[in-house]
Symmetry: C3
């Protein structure tokens, strides 16, 4: 019942929701060797987050972005504004969406539903690549 751990630095992505399932799978080949277990993906930032959502129609990811912009708007009387209007909303969105996802491993694959994918949620306008820590444990 070993542990596997990897770091994965994603390329810089534009503000919005981006599917990264295939990138995570490439970085975590040990998933295929496990009959049961858990995959944990963690993002080491406070202005980008991870979520699981629709992997098909890209319109869903656009609507997720516009919805989150309304839930955590830029035109709000924030006091932490030094890095620009997209800074503090990014922190709010990160706490709402979360800094990690964990997904069951079953018979050598992720036990995702048919429509589920892992999304990087980039909340800044001009971010650099984001660092993930991937942890796998199972048998």
């Amino acid at each position: 019942m070993p542990w596997f751990q990897h770091t994965l630095t994603l390329p810089a992505m534009s503000r919005g929701f981006h599917l990264i399932t295939s990138r995570v799978l490439e970085a975590a080949p040990e998933i295929r060797s496990l009959q049961a277990g858990l995959l944990h993906v963690f993002i080491q930032h406070t202005s980008a987050s991870l979520t699981i959502n629709e992997n098909a129609d890209p319109d869903v990811r656009v609507d997720l972005e516009t919805s989150m912009n309304t839930i955590a708007p830029e035109n709000f009387p924030y006091i932490h504004t030094i890095e620009g209007p997209d800074d503090m909303p990014a922190h709010v969105k990160t706490s709402l969406l979360g800094s990690s996802v964990s997904i069951p491993i079953r018979k050598g694959a992720l036990a995702l539903g048919v429509w589920q994918g892992i999304c990087l949620c980039e909340h800044r306008n001009h971010a650099e690549g984001r660092k993930l820590v991937i942890t796998i444990h199972g048998e």
Copy 2:
């Protein structure tokens, strides 16, 4: 330190928040055999979610539903609208609430607080039964 994994298909539920703690416990009897560990419950859908909240007054679950309907309203200029007005808000709510919960196991039981229960959050008006993957690991 074994792993246990189960799939649980819930019956179709009405839109809203529903306590499922007892159903999860029935599906995961191995919890009773563990002194320390974690229970992970994962939902394989993108228009329903899982959360932990009040297990007593059912009014809380009604207020959670009306609150989420205000946070992710149906009257918003979504572009993904093919499945009706409850479709895209369901995706937003799923990302806000999350696709999994994980709960400590201690001395053969879930280490939930007195008022905590596991809720299925059904965000669609007419959904079929939802599939969960339950993963248990401990010693």
Copy 3:
């Protein structure tokens, strides 16, 4: 590959977001003995939550509080109001932010990003100390 589990009762804290990373580390010294693993922190309440966010500028934590007060406002037609106007918004915020965080352990330390800390999110005006269950597993 042992399991470690601790309960940690925090002192009563004021409504808002509070960094508790150092308190969690003090309560979980076994982190230092592990090369790879996961830390799971769970809060046993439904009116306070846990999140990971900025560990430096305290203004971020103030803005998180005011943002959450706008997303889950007190002046909403809740039906569960017996414990006062801060009661039901606390339940909504708890589900939005979540009842647990899990963080990778790597080389004897938490693999947090430079700016990340663990926050207790106290959503009630006059709460008692909150109970956490800390679970550590690794090798």
